[in-house]
């Protein structure tokens, strides 16, 4: 069924059933709640700073129209306003300056004639436009390209290492019987109960003495062994029939080959889930990178955004733009991997 018929599907055939009213209003409400803030964020990120501090706020981003006017020998870009003159006439004039509540305006066609008008009588002439310099400036001037690179580096490598190490642990804990297996599993899951603030200081000493302080690997390595990941993958691997491993053993496969060629491909849906979790955690991680990283060139995006805000007394337009930029990769990864989970792997070889 196509999108249009899906979105307008109703229970009642010709008239609207009460359930239709309820469903649509509930769905619409949910849509506004979920998407509203994200849409607002994105639209606001395209507004200039002046527009951001405007009240009442506008929904869409506007760019003020300007015109070049020669005044007293000097060429200037002056903003255009639609002015209601005392005579009742409405003219489009360029503002020279504003003092208090009186605005001095000139006619662009006739720059020598000035008008003095109360600011209430003028409305800015503007059209919908995107202030794309909100995005380009931080990337060029403020090292945000470097922050972006650092975040991508940390996220990609941390995710890869997480997937490999967690799956190996899960494989051992699910497919091998050994004394103390349950004990190990309990300890691994038990670490979930320890809040990060408790271990931050000792972890810092460890990282410092190993010499990983102030390096991206110091951000990546302590966080790769996740108990959630081990547990998730272990539970999934338990559903892989043991007979597959036995058939592989009869087929001359070494234990490594069983892991790499049989179990890991079959665990792909759970690995995709863990990858999504890992990407989101690592990308949004703030506290640990803040502690480990001292040099500005190494900052990840989140840390960079934070210091950015402190240093330059909250330039909202840059923060908004960079926040949107930092959301995009996560959304892309999620959209890409979600398809992978839902289609799953075809069929099964075991009844």
């Amino acid at each position: 069924m196509n999108i249009a018929s899906f979105l307008t599907a109703r229970r009642g055939k010709s008239r609207w059933d009460w359930t239709d009213y309820f469903t649509f209003s509930w769905l619409g409400f949910g849509l506004i709640i979920m998407f509203g803030p994200a849409v607002w964020l994105t639209l606001s990120s395209f507004k200039s700073p002046a527009q951001l501090s405007e009240f009442p706020p506008t929904v869409l981003p506007y760019v003020a129209q300007t015109v070049e006017v020669e005044v007293r020998g000097q060429k200037k870009q002056l903003p255009l306003y639609e002015v209601k003159l005392d005579t009742g006439e409405i003219k489009v004039l360029a503002e020279l300056r504003r003092i208090g509540i009186i605005s001095k305006l000139v006619d662009p066609a006739d720059p020598e004639t000035t008008y003095k008008v109360n600011i209430k009588q003028r409305t800015p002439v503007r059209e919908i436009g995107l202030a794309t310099e909100n995005y380009t400036k931080p990337l060029k001037d403020f090292n945000f390209g470097q922050f972006l690179y650092n975040s991508v580096f940390v996220t990609v490598f941390a995710t890869l290492i997480t997937l490999v190490t967690n799956s190996m642990a899960a494989f051992a804990l699910s497919k091998y019987q050994f004394r103390g297996r349950n004990g190990v599993l309990l300890v691994v899951i038990g670490t979930l109960m320890i809040p990060i603030s408790v271990i931050i200081v000792p972890l810092y000493s460890v990282i410092s003495s190993v010499g990983l302080l102030n390096s991206l690997w110091g951000v990546i390595l302590p966080t790769v062994a996740t108990p959630t990941g081990v547990f998730l993958l272990r539970q999934y691997m338990l559903t892989i029939p043991d007979e597959l491993l036995e058939a592989a053993r009869m087929d001359d496969a070494s234990e490594w080959q069983i892991y790499w060629r049989i179990v890991l491909p079959l665990t792909a849906p759970a690995l995709a889930v863990l990858a999504i979790f890992s990407v989101v955690w690592r990308w949004n991680d703030f506290l640990w990178p803040l502690i480990v990283l001292g040099r500005k060139e190494l900052f990840t995006l989140q840390v960079g955004l934070n210091t950015f805000a402190g240093e330059l007394n909250v330039q909202w337009h840059f923060i908004l733009a960079m926040t949107v930029a930092s959301m995009i990769p996560v959304v892309i990864v999620f959209v890409f991997l979600q398809r992978y989970i839902t289609t799953g792997i075809a069929g099964s070889g075991v009844k």
Partner: protein
């Protein structure tokens, strides 16, 4: 080439003994079937032979080489699992090639073997598909194919037909026997279905509670079961057992061997006669080609009779049944078979 010998095999897990003192000699090219009720240890024994499990004590000798300490892959055997255990994420071709690639076989050799097997089992059109896209019978053939490409010393089959529907089972039975004739390899087959055992085996190993009860050819098992258990297990419907007093009517004055406590008679060997057992018909099953009659001798003894034709019998009808003494089986107080003495047989012959 494919001889397997089991010497004094024991397997126990914690305090539970699963296999007790198993001794068995399997000749090269033999089709041996392990049969027995659920939980008798036949699958466990198969896994010991395959190398997937280690025995608690005892030896396994393949082709005069002690392989008890050798891992599964190096024993040169191939196993077909009950649930086929095909690798779901690989195509049929990759499933067949997996074991050969692990042995670092040259690609040309792998391709040749796969082509041969695909032709033999008629799975050529399926080579690019995944197991999930195959039917049960096709998957089973791929599982067998995976075993054949390894060119093993012996094949181990763990209830391979139990997941198929009845009709497919009959045709696959014939195919497996034909395959055995063609490959001439030793095959060890585990099943709980005595019909499969009877139709496919060169020799049957009847097991119960971790012990081997009898090893014999199908007809030997049918004609000369070594004890009550084997007598009851082999043959469908089950053999009828009567005590001496009840059997007096059909023995008609002839003396059974000394020590007889139970007399066994198969349903196929009873016939309607003028004198003999007086039974009351309870349930009549008409199968078209034969009729199975469930009758009662007295309130506690049931007698089953199979007639090779269609008979109209009323429920509650009184019938008289008799049988030849040569068709009867005699068991002593311990349930062991008693052979009539030579003198007795001579007397009967005359």
């Amino acid at each position: 080439m494919g001889t397997i010998r089991l010497q004094n095999l024991h397997k126990s897990f914690d305090d539970v003994t699963i296999l007790k003192d198993i001794n068995l000699d399997i000749k090269d090219g033999e089709f041996v079937v392990f049969v027995g009720p659920s939980g008798c240890g036949k699958s466990t024994l198969l896994r010991q032979i395959s190398g997937l499990d280690k025995p608690s004590s005892g030896n396994i000798v393949i082709d005069e080489k002690d392989v008890t300490e050798i891992s599964a892959a190096e024993r040169g055997l191939a196993m077909v699992f009950q649930s086929y255990a095909l690798y779901p994420h690989m195509s049929v071709r990759q499933n067949l090639a997996f074991g050969l690639e692990n042995k670092k076989m040259p690609k040309a050799e792998i391709d040749r073997r796969i082509a041969d097997v695909a032709q033999m089992l008629e799975i050529e059109p399926l080579l690019k598909r995944r197991p999930g896209q195959l039917s049960g019978g096709q998957r089973q053939r791929v599982a067998i194919g995976r075993a054949i490409v390894r060119e093993p010393t012996a094949f181990l089959l763990d209830e391979p037909l139990s997941n198929l529907d009845a009709e497919l089972r009959v045709s696959m039975r014939a195919e497996l026997v034909a395959l055995h004739d063609r490959l001439k390899s030793t095959m060890i087959y585990v099943t709980h279905d005595q019909v499969e055992a009877m139709t496919m085996a060169d020799r049957i190993v009847v097991m119960r509670d971790g012990e081997i009860i009898q090893v014999a050819t199908p007809m030997e098992l049918f004609d000369q079961p070594v004890n009550l258990f084997v007598a009851k297990f082999i043959g469908a419907p089950n053999m009828n057992f009567l005590n001496l007093a009840q059997a007096a009517a059909i023995l008609a004055g002839q003396q059974p061997p000394v020590g007889t406590v139970t007399v066994g008679i198969r349903p196929q060997h009873l016939a309607i006669a003028d004198s003999g057992l007086q039974v009351t018909a309870k349930i009549v099953e008409s199968l078209g080609t034969e009729t199975v009659l469930h009758s009662e001798l007295d309130s506690s003894t049931k007698v089953l009779v199979t007639f090779p034709c269609h008979l109209q019998i009323q429920k509650g009808e009184q019938l008289t049944l008799n049988a030849n003494i040569s068709d009867m089986h005699f068991f002593n107080a311990e349930g062991l078979r008693l052979e009539p003495s030579i003198a007795y047989l001579k007397e009967q012959a005359s």
